[in-house]
Every structure is written in C-alpha cells, then in structure tokens.
C-alpha cells in the first residue's frame, strides 16, 4: 500500500505548529464566509498569477451587472441552515486535557452525557474541563471507554438541561448528503466557540485499517468537510442537525497534519451499539468471529481460517464456506465483513448466513472478544503507558499491594486502577475505580436503574413460597415447573428432573439437553423476588438488540428503530448468567453458562401480551444451536411463603414435602 500517514486528530501538539494563513482561511471557509476570490487565492497560490478569472461567471454573467434580488427560498434556506448550525454548536463540547492537548465532543443528553474519542480523553485521565458555546467551563468525568473503536463517553456536571443533539440512524446517510462538522480544530476554541466546517458525505461504509498507534475504523463515514487536528471527538451532523458520526481520523499526506478533504467519522450506529455499556462505566471490547475471511478467485468472500473453539465453528461454519450475510447485512467484500464485525460488541449473538455447495444456511453466532482483559487494560493505558501518562513533577508511586499489573505495565498506567489525582469538588462521588471499568460508579447507577425497572414491572407477593408454572409444549403436552428457594424441578414428557437451589448450580445442567434451564429459572425467580444485588456479584453489562426484533435484521439495519434491551450480568453459585431486560422492566431473556467455555442455555421469554403480574406468557429454550423446547404458560401460581421455604439452602429437599412435584 501507499505511504499514507493516517493520524489521529486530538489537538496534542497542534499548538506547537504555526497556523498557516491557508488554515486560517479554510476555517473561515468552513464557516460559510469565504468568497470565491479567497478560495482562488488559496487554491492557486502564487503560481497562477498571470490570468485570474475572477469576474467570470458560469454562463458569462459578468461582474458589472447589478445583482438580481436573492430569491426568498435561498434566504429562507440559509436562515434554516444558520439555525441548525447554531443548535448543533450549542451541543458541541471543547475538551481540554491540560498539557496533553484536547479535542472535541458532543452532548447527546440533557443530563450531560457527551461522546468523544478515546484518543482524546486517554491522556486526560478521569477528570477534564469542557467548554460549551455558552462560554462556560464545566467539569466532566470519564464514564465509559471503547479503546478499540476509539469512542469515549464523558459526563458534564452542573446542569440537568444541557443543550444536546440526537443520534441519527447513520445507515440512512447517502453519499452526497450535505453534512457539517463542529469542533475545536487546532484548539482554536479558547473562548469555547466551536468551529463549523461544511461538506458532503464522500463515502459510506468505509473501512480504514489500523495504522501504527491508530485504531481501526470500521464502517465509518468519509467526508470532505474540513477535519483537522482538534476536531477529534466532535460530531458530524446531517443537514437537520442530528449526529451521524464522531469525527476521529483523516488521511493526511505530504502537507503535514491538515485537512486534505478526507476525514472519517465513526458512525452513530456503531456508537449506539456500545452506548449502553459505555453508560455503564465499562471498558468495552469489540468482537471477533473466530474466523478470518478472504476473497476467492471468483470474488466470493470465503472463510480462510477458523478457530475450532469459536462459536461459529460449533454452529457449523467451516473453512471455505462462503459468507453471505452477517448481522443482517450482505457481505460482498472482505471490507464489508470487517465493517460489519467492527461495529459489533463482544458478546452479542448475531445471525450469520453462509453458503456451502450451493446450499444456504443461517446460524446464530455469539461473538467473542478481540482482547483479553489485560490487553484491553494495556490499550487503555496506551502502548507507551508511562510516556502517555506522565505528569510533571509527580514521582511514580510504587505498586499498591494487591494490584495486578498487566504484563509490562506499571500498575498506575491503567486508569481504573490508577491512583487518580484528587477530583474537583463538582465530581466528588462520581468516580469509582475498578478493574475492567472506566468508572464503576456509573455501573452502580445503571444497575439500580434496571433494578427499579424490573421491580416496577412485576407484581410479586412477598415473602414468597414456591412458584408453580403449568403449561403446554409446542406439541401440546403438559409441562410443570416448580421453583422455590430450596429447589427447582421440571416435569416433562421425557421425565422429571430437579436441582438443589441451595448449593452450587454448575453441577446440574437439568433438564438434560437444556444446558441448565432449571438453574436459569431459579435465578430468574430470585432476580424477580430479591433484585439484582441479591443474586451475587451482579453488574450492568450493557445492551443487546431487543428480543422483539426478528432474527436476521438485528444489528445495523434501521438501528434507530431498534429497541435495545439492558443486560445484567451475574456470577452466582458457580454459574454465569445474563438477563436481558426490556425498557419496561420485563425480562426478555436469560443466557446461562454452567462453565466459562460451555454452550449456554438460552431462554427467550415471549414478548406478547403479558399477565397482569408482569410474568411472560411463554418461553423458548435453545442450547447448542438447537431448540430444546417451546413452552406456553397457562398458569403461574405463587404460593405464600412458609417458614421452611424462605431461607435458601437451609432446608434442602423441603420441596419434596409438597408431594405433587416429582411423583408422576
């Protein structure tokens, strides 16, 4: 490939370089103020002095004729444009990271959530100062990080009515659409007034290889609006003032670090895929299929290598299979495959369509993480950790006891584990360090929000005794489930099995072939009764495409209309479980792993009409790529508590006393 230098766009170092007149003028240009004569001066330079064609108009209008009145439609359009840009500018954030530089950001909610680039906030650490166009400087705290996708979420404090801009569905953006970037190029916004640069969308679904320390940009938008150092993290807006992307990198060559008409923005839809986890304070990871693809001689995109340990392999994908579609989007080039994959979070389950010997098959594949946790921590610390994190005058502290430094990294190089400088008063109580999290404080906030939604949706008698669920399988046969604090049992046509709820759950994947359905239902009951905190070590995981979306068009397609479900993750009684929770607090699904590398038991609750108590009408259980069963619930009986049933684990086998559970 060419010797193209691709450079991230934070403002670091920008102040050291002189701002040339051309740059200054291009800034004026982008504000919509440039005259044609001015443009010509920049474009032509001194080389072309002899024959200026300044007065020539297309069609020979000439310069001497008096200008005709400007049509009202033009004036109206210009007024609209100015108003849109003013609204967008109000939501723009100028981020100052001290001597480390700075960049741009954009507010996306009235409570102060702002998006920016990972590479902008990385040198800043946990706290930063953010200027808005109102001329005020606000304190902001780091919330979540996506070091692979170059996205960060911060939260400005001090108001609950911040001006903000909505996220658009970036898949509806077309080449040629007008767009404009708002940001802090060259850190010019010393008065916090952002710069606006206008252009058109030059390309969509672009793939940009990682280069050196620069991150991969997948499925990004390419624009010819001027994107300069310092624009990093700022928003790319459509003509209506909605955020279609986060400006983050540009192709530069031979003219130093200034715009050459080729900027790239992370798509709003990619951001949306990770936004839940970012709000939850996590350091998120991107996904791998566990397989690589290549272009065959005939142009097909085929699997060129595949890990036998990957979920794709377990679901049947093999070497030389042709990839037809991933996550509901067609795959016609290797770039398209990387584009789709690059926008998906690790842990999502997405549909994959492949073709072998002329036959097309669709499988649901759970995506693995690109990085090991230690690798992710090293990424967050920066490859040159100590160099990136250096602060003047501060002697390095010895590692605190109990810290686990990543290989080759000083422990203090990892945010989340670093000894943070004292927070400003405004941010006190808004940050908590924990490995794997950019800011664990917000994980607690999100977990409490979801817990409140669950509690609000379900009407459950407490203290509770056993729950008896009776219904029919798809074939019409009756099933019975009994769940209590001590025991779970299920009565199926194939037989009756039970699980001791008081002990470890990982020993008993009953009923056979389900991957642990009884354990999942027991934990589901415990979640509804006692809330997430009572389950065990429960955290807010992020979001997944909601269960109400038909499989096959989950990620990517029309993402603005996609309802996302919140996910709570819990390690409890030897198993790992994830609950997906709809916005209304109803439980949409359960994924339960008996062991880290085991096939999970996947329960999907029916999302149609629900009973008055908030419980589902039915559920489908899948395990290891096959459907274990479809359960339609006729009746749920919640018995009042008895003395023996309220204390989990103290009365093993107490359920037997009820008599009618396991006798058939």
């Amino acid at each position: 490939m060419a010797t193209v230098s691709i450079v991230p766009l934070n403002g670091s170092g920008a102040r050291r370089g002189a701002v040339s007149p051309a740059v200054a003028l291009s800034v004026a240009l982008v504000a919509g103020l440039a005259l044609v004569a001015g443009l010509a001066l920049v474009a032509g330079g001194a080389a072309l002095a002899p024959r200026w064609a300044l007065a020539e108009e297309p069609g020979g209008g000439g310069g001497a004729a008096p200008p005709p009145a400007t049509p009202d439609v033009v004036l109206g359009a210009e007024r609209d444009r100015i108003a849109v840009m003013a609204r967008a500018s109000a939501a723009a954030v100028a981020i100052f990271a001290g001597e480390a530089g700075g960049g741009s950001g954009v507010l996306i909610s009235p409570d102060g959530h702002a998006l920016t680039n990972f590479h902008v906030v990385q040198p800043a650490g946990v706290a930063m100062k953010c200027g808005l166009a109102d001329g005020r400087l606000y304190d902001a705290v780091l919330v979540g990080l996506d070091p692979t996708g170059d996205v960060a979420l911060v939260k400005l404090v001090g108001r609950d009515d911040f001006p903000w801009a909505p996220l658009a569905d970036s898949d509806t953006v077309a080449v040629g659409d007008p767009c404009f970037a708002v940001g802090n190029p060259f850190l010019l916004a010393t008065d916090f007034q952002p710069s606006v640069s206008a252009g058109i969308v030059s390309g969509i679904h672009r793939y940009q290889f990682p280069a050196g320390t620069i991150l991969e940009y997948a499925d990004c938008l390419q624009v010819d609006a001027a994107i300069n150092p310092g624009n990093s993290g700022g928003a790319l807006f459509d003509a209506a003032g909605r955020v279609i992307g986060i400006n983050g990198r540009a192709s530069f060559e031979k003219r130093g670090r200034v715009n050459v008409g080729v900027g790239y923005a992370i798509s709003a839809n990619q951001v949306r895929h990770f936004l839940g986890a970012l709000k939850g304070g996590r350091i998120v990871d991107h996904a791998t299929l566990g397989a690589t693809v290549a272009t065959a001689d005939d142009g097909r995109v085929v699997v060129s290598d595949i890990l036998e340990s990957s979920d794709a392999h377990r679901r049947g994908l093999r070497y030389d299979d042709e990839i037809v579609a991933l996550a509901g989007r067609p795959v016609r080039t290797v770039n398209a495959f990387k584009n789709i994959l690059g926008t998906l979070p690790a842990g999502w389950r997405v549909p994959l369509v492949y073709r072998r010997a002329g036959q097309q098959r669709e499988i649901a594949v759970r995506l693995a993480a690109v990085h090991a946790p230690a690798e992710l921590a090293a990424l967050v610390a920066g490859e040159g950790g100590p160099r990136q994190r250096r602060r003047p005058g501060g002697p390095r502290k010895p590692p605190a006891p109990g810290d686990e430094p990543a290989p080759g990294e000083a422990p203090e190089a990892a945010p989340g584990r670093a000894e943070p400088p004292p927070l400003p008063d405004a941010l006190r109580g808004l940050h908590e360090s924990r490995p794997g999290y950019a800011n664990y404080h917000f994980n607690v906030v999100e977990r409490q929000r979801v817990a409140a939604a669950i509690a609000g949706h379900h009407v459950i008698e407490r203290p509770a005794g056993p729950w008896r669920i009776v219904g029919r399988l798809a074939e019409g046969e009756v099933f019975r489930v009994e769940l209590s604090a001590a025991r779970g049992s299920i009565d199926l046509p194939t037989g009756t099995t039970s699980v001791d709820a008081g002990g470890e759950l990982d020993a008993n994947p009953s009923p056979p072939g389900s991957g642990g359905l009884l354990a999942a239902l027991l934990l589901w009951r415990r979640l509804l009764l006692d809330g997430p905190d009572a389950l065990g070590r429960t955290t807010y995981w992020g979001t997944v495409p909601g269960a109400t979306v038909p499989a096959g068009r989950q990620a990517g397609a029309g993402a603005d209309s996609l309802p996302f479900a919140d996910v709570l993750e819990s390690a409890v009684a030897g198993v790992e479980v994830r609950f997906s929770v709809a916005a209304d607090g109803s439980i949409e699904g359960i994924d339960l792993w008996m062991a880290p590398d085991a096939e999970p038991c996947e329960v999907r609750f029916e999302t149609g009409d629900r009973a008055a108590n908030g419980l589902p009408q039915g559920f489908v259980v899948e395990h290891a790529g096959t459907t274990f069963g479809r359960f339609r619930i006729d009746e749920v009986v919640m018995e009042p508590a008895t003395e023996s049933a309220t204390e989990p684990g103290t009365v093993p086998g107490a359920g037997d006393a009820d008599g009618d559970g396991g006798t058939k």
Partner: protein, 343 residues
C-alpha cells in the same frame, strides 16, 4: 448551468445549495442521485507501483459503452496487468491502447458491452470560476470491490494555464486547467471524474503536481475539451508516442523571431532580427526587444524560450511579453505552428 449559479453571489448559492439541496428549485436529481449516476462510470484502476511515493492505483472514467476508459498516463499503467474495477464490483483486464504524452492522458480498453459511460462532450463551453463541481475518485484507494469511489464538492476557483512539476519532473502540458477549491491531489485521485451538478463529465482530475514557482500542491482538472482532444488523438493513432520527461524545444524562428546567438548557458533572449512578413513582425516585435515571458511564464534564457514554446501544442495561442526601452509590451503571435521541419 443551474439558474442559481448565475444569480450570484456565487458563494451564497454554493453554500446554501451544498447544505440544503432542497433549495434548488426544480432540481431534477439530488446530489446523491447525481453522484450515484456518474459514479457508475468511474473505474478503480490497479497496476504497477506500490513503492515509496508511487501508488499502484489511480482512477479512470468509462467514456464509451464498449469499454474505453480515459485516465492519466502514469507508472501505474506500466504493467502487464491493469485491473479495472467498476462501481458494481465487476473486474476487467484493461489494455493500454495509447497515450497522449503531452496531456499525459491514456486510453484503456475493457472487453465489455453496454457499459455505463459518461460521454466526452467536447462541445461544452469552458466552465468559469465559481462553477460548482463534484470530484469522483478513488483517493487513497479507499474504495475496493463494489464500494463507491469518493465524492468531493468544490468550485472552479480559476481557469489558468498549468505550470507545474513534481520534483525534477516537469509537466509537459501548458494549456488551461481548472483550479479547484477541493483537495484532489491525493494519491489515487488522478484520472477521476470532474462532473457538474447535473452529472455531466466536465473534466478529468490531473496528476499529482506542484506549482512550479511556489511549490504548492495543485488541485486541478483538465477541461473536457482537452480530454476529448487527447481521446480523439489516441483513438486516431496520432498521439501514441511514449511519454518523455525531457521537454521538447521549439525554435521561435518559426514564428519569425531570430534570437541573439546562444553563446552562454543563460544567454538572455534578446531579439536579433524579426523576419519580415512573419507572425512576429505582424505582432509588432522589434530587434533588441528582450523576451521576459511566454504565455505568462518567465523566460530568463534562450533555452527557456525554446522549452516553453516546446511545451505548447501546435495551434495553442502564443503570447509574449517583452521589455522595450524600459517598458513592458505584450504581443500576440497567434497560434503556434506545427514543429519545424518535421523534427
């Protein structure tokens, strides 16, 4: 052109139309539709290169439905296999059928039928400064397979003769180019389509060059009539000579200007005699006039005069500036004749 662009001021029309295309009254197509239509004819070309400073890719434009692609003449084409990838992902082997070494354009042939072509309409009037244009090219090679080339917007900032070089290499073309206010001198851009906002091909993005005098990278395109002339010459077999990096010389004696003998390396180009009845005599040139510029380009020596004239095509207007008794005098010598004596 669109009616709006005549109503001036052009910057207002440009800014408004760019941002709110709905403001164009009765516009037939959106910018996106215009780009999508024209981009079907833009070809991603892959050939030789890949070493430092020389990319192995550039852009071309299908100009006939039977597979003629016009592109820039460059080292990319110096390859046994030239891969041409269309907007829909179809891949063709390109065959170099000829080149115009002066305009540095080349024509490739693809084996295809009913391909989406942008016609080379040579009879269009030249664009003026302020005309809105779109540039379609595979800059930085960012588009592969069926991915669409990049679209950039801009205006024609000036229409001026090209005076450009890249390192020691001097661009032989000296005719008019459109100077653009969008950045088109990126790797991969040469050979890209310059279209107007109705989707018509109005020019071809030129090679990556700097202005000779200032060193500024130039964003420019060859006007469509020059492109069409090159195409016609190549198809007619008139211009298949290999490109030469040495600028050819042209003796001004053909125009009736006899310069002082070339005694030194940098003999100043004083006129010794003017042949009676020659274009030079008709233009009013006199003995002892000092030539200082030819077509706006400084000529400090006899050699420079010959080289500058050599860079023009037969038929190009010749315009000289002389110093006479301390005064600057401009003279038009009419069209440059063909090369003297069939040299």
């Amino acid at each position: 052109m669109n009616g709006l662009s005549r109503t001036r001021p052009p910057w207002l029309a440009t800014a408004v139309v760019l941002l709110l295309s709905a403001a164009i009254p009765a516009a037939a197509a959106t910018p996106g539709e215009t780009i999508a239509g024209a981009a079907r004819s833009v070809v991603k070309i892959y050939g030789a290169g890949g070493v430092r400073g020389l990319e192995a890719y550039q852009t071309g434009v299908l100009v006939t439905p039977t597979g003629h692609v016009i592109t820039v003449l460059s080292t990319v084409l110096d390859s046994d296999t030239i891969d041409c990838v269309l907007d829909d992902g179809r891949r063709f082997a390109g065959r170099l059928i000829g080149a115009d070494p002066r305009r540095e354009l080349a024509v490739l042939a693809l084996e295809g039928e009913e391909l989406p072509a942008l016609p080379l309409a040579a009879d269009q009037p030249r664009l003026g400064a302020g005309s809105r244009v779109l540039a379609l090219s595979n800059l930085f090679g960012v588009a592969v397979g069926d991915e669409r080339v990049s679209a950039q917007h801009g205006v024609v900032a000036a229409v001026v003769p090209l005076d450009a070089r890249r390192g020691a290499y001097e661009a032989p073309y000296r005719g008019d180019v459109y100077i653009l206010d969008c950045t088109t001198n990126n790797p991969g851009s040469p050979g890209g389509a310059l279209i107007d906002w109705r989707g018509r091909l109005v020019g071809l993005l030129g090679k990556e060059l700097r202005a000779s005098t200032s060193g500024v990278w130039l964003n420019y395109a060859l006007p469509i009539d020059e492109v069409a002339k090159a195409y016609d010459d190549i198809i007619a077999g008139r211009a298949t000579a290999p490109a030469t990096t040495a600028t050819e010389r042209f003796d001004p004696a053909v125009l009736g200007v006899i310069l002082v003998p070339d005694l030194l390396d940098k003999t100043p180009p004083f006129i010794e005699t003017v042949r009676a009845g020659s274009p030079a005599a008709a233009a009013g040139l006199r003995p002892d006039d000092l030539l200082v510029a030819v077509n706006g380009r400084a000529v400090p020596s006899r050699m420079a005069v010959q080289q500058t004239l050599g860079g023009l095509a037969a038929g190009d207007p010749v315009h000289v500036t002389v110093v006479r008794d301390g005064m600057i005098v401009d003279c038009d010598l009419g069209p440059r004749p063909a090369r003297e004596g069939g040299r």
